[in-house]
């Protein structure tokens, strides 16, 4: 005859132990305490299964993967310089010497030809507009001062756009607008700090919905906070 201790030790594994099943069922028929215990255990198992089902859809927020990918990218070996640094210096010095010698030899032994005075030179840019530079595509390019990375202008355009995206401070965009995609994630405000945006510490724990504009290279380029 099976004892209560033996029955409890067998517990919910009754089905895994067919050899002792008949004995356990016999004990169950004569022991109300163990019957109640088994019922409670089965209820508990059902509750735990329900808990498992509720939480099985949970996944790590997307922002974690984005942050880790950033680390992987940083591990990429830098492309080797095809010329050592000292060679660059030597080349630069040679070019300067060449230009000096050329200007001296073109001016001839009599010295430089009379040109505008220092005052005139200083005044030239402001009094006489220089001809507009020709663009790469043959058109007349607008004067660009200061020079700006064309991709950075994409992001600037995004920032100014009505769709509410704000360019990430560190982003160096390398995408065409058509190839970018918008990923909607739910994250804590503190996560915005990881993207380089200012965060109010008092509200860092708040959950917000955010659209991330991801370029073809997988890097987040801009962010839009959803209300």
């Amino acid at each position: 005859m099976m004892t209560c201790d033996e029955f409890e030790a067998l517990g919910l594994d009754l089905n895994r132990n067919p050899a002792r099943r008949a004995e356990a069922e016999e004990h169950l028929g004569s022991c109300a305490r163990c019957a109640a215990w088994l019922e409670s255990c089965q209820e508990l198992r059902a509750d735990l299964r329900a808990l498992a089902r509720e939480t099985e859809i949970l996944e790590t927020p997307m922002v974690v993967e984005l942050a880790l990918r950033e680390v992987v990218r940083a591990q990429r070996p830098q492309p080797r310089q095809w010329m050592p640094k000292w060679a660059w210096g030597l080349t630069a010095a040679t070019v300067v010497a060449l230009i000096t010698w050329l200007s001296w030899s073109l001016a001839g032994p009599m010295g430089p030809t009379p040109g505008p005075s220092a005052t005139q030179v200083a005044e030239t840019p402001s009094t006489r507009p220089s001809p507009a530079p020709v663009g790469l595509n043959g058109g007349v390019a607008a004067p660009v001062t200061p020079a700006r990375h064309p991709a950075a202008e994409n992001v600037a355009a995004l920032t100014a756009a009505d769709d509410g995206f704000v360019a990430l401070p560190y982003a160096v965009p390398s995408f065409a607008e058509d190839d970018s995609s918008v990923v909607r994630v739910r994250m804590q405000r503190a996560g915005l700090g990881a993207l380089g945006l200012p965060v109010n510490e008092e509200r860092a724990g708040e959950w917000v919905m955010v659209d991330l504009l991801v370029g073809v290279d997988g890097e987040a380029q801009a962010v839009r906070l959803l209300r």
Binding site: T3, E56, V72
Partner: protein, 222 residues
């Protein structure tokens, strides 16, 4: 991901060390959800679970050489790191056991992706049923979180992840007998806690009386 479906894990790690994002994505996507669920079920704290998953992969990225393919699969290695991080989390954060399980489900800190709010998926059911289920789920969650860590991880792996005793023993690096006994004691603790919260003492007395076992009620057969 599709271009590298059958690479060996050590080869994947070598590629990750060279900055191969695709190889990393493959490893990450295979493992992150299980690790996150484990961390979340152990801590009950979504931000902490996030941090633990991030730490696990950061360790993998910084020290890929620590993984030895001959000692077991990468998933088990990552799980081992996650377990250590969970332990460190418990050391760092004072143990907070909710006195009122209902407080967990109402807490604003538990957002919709949080552990507690996940039970609100059954929104189409009648409010009464929903409330009862929600309360019951909150009690079970709180009871699991109140277990000592070594019992809790056994419950999480065997009952929530539905791993076999053998798989659990392998992950926890302990004998199967230890898994069985921990699970047995964990169930007893869970039952006691839930009975206390639900104020429903074990049915033995009522059942026993009804079934004519009044004399035997509460007595153990030896």
């Amino acid at each position: 991901m599709s271009r590298t479906p059958h690479l060996r894990e050590d080869e994947l790690l070598r590629r990750i060390a060279r900055g191969d994002e695709e190889a990393f994505a493959q490893v990450y996507r295979t493992n992150h959800a299980k690790l996150y669920r484990f961390a979340l079920r152990m801590t009950g704290d979504p931000p902490a679970a996030e941090e633990i998953v991030q730490d696990v992969f950061m360790i993998l990225l910084r020290e890929p050489g620590r993984f030895d393919a001959s000692r077991g699969p990468l998933a088990a290695y990552l799980f081992g790191i996650a377990r250590n991080r969970v332990r460190k989390h418990f050391e760092r954060v004072p143990r907070e056991v909710p006195l009122e399980p209902e407080a967990m489900s109402d807490s604003p800190g538990n957002g919709s992706s949080g552990y507690a709010a996940s039970s609100n998926r059954a929104h189409l059911q009648a409010p009464g049923v929903l409330a009862e289920q929600s309360q019951r789920a909150a009690q079970v969650r709180a009871a699991v979180l109140s277990l000592p860590p070594e019992f809790r991880e056994t419950v999480v792996l065997c009952e929530l992840e539905e791993l076999s005793y053998e798989e659990t023993a392998r992950l926890l690096e302990c004998p199967i007998g230890t898994v069985r006994s921990r699970l047995h004691r964990a169930r007893a603790l869970l039952l006691a806690k839930l009975e206390m919260w639900r104020n429903t003492p074990r049915q033995s007395a009522a059942n026993g009386a009804a079934a004519g076992f009044a004399g035997k009620t509460g007595e153990r057969q030896r």
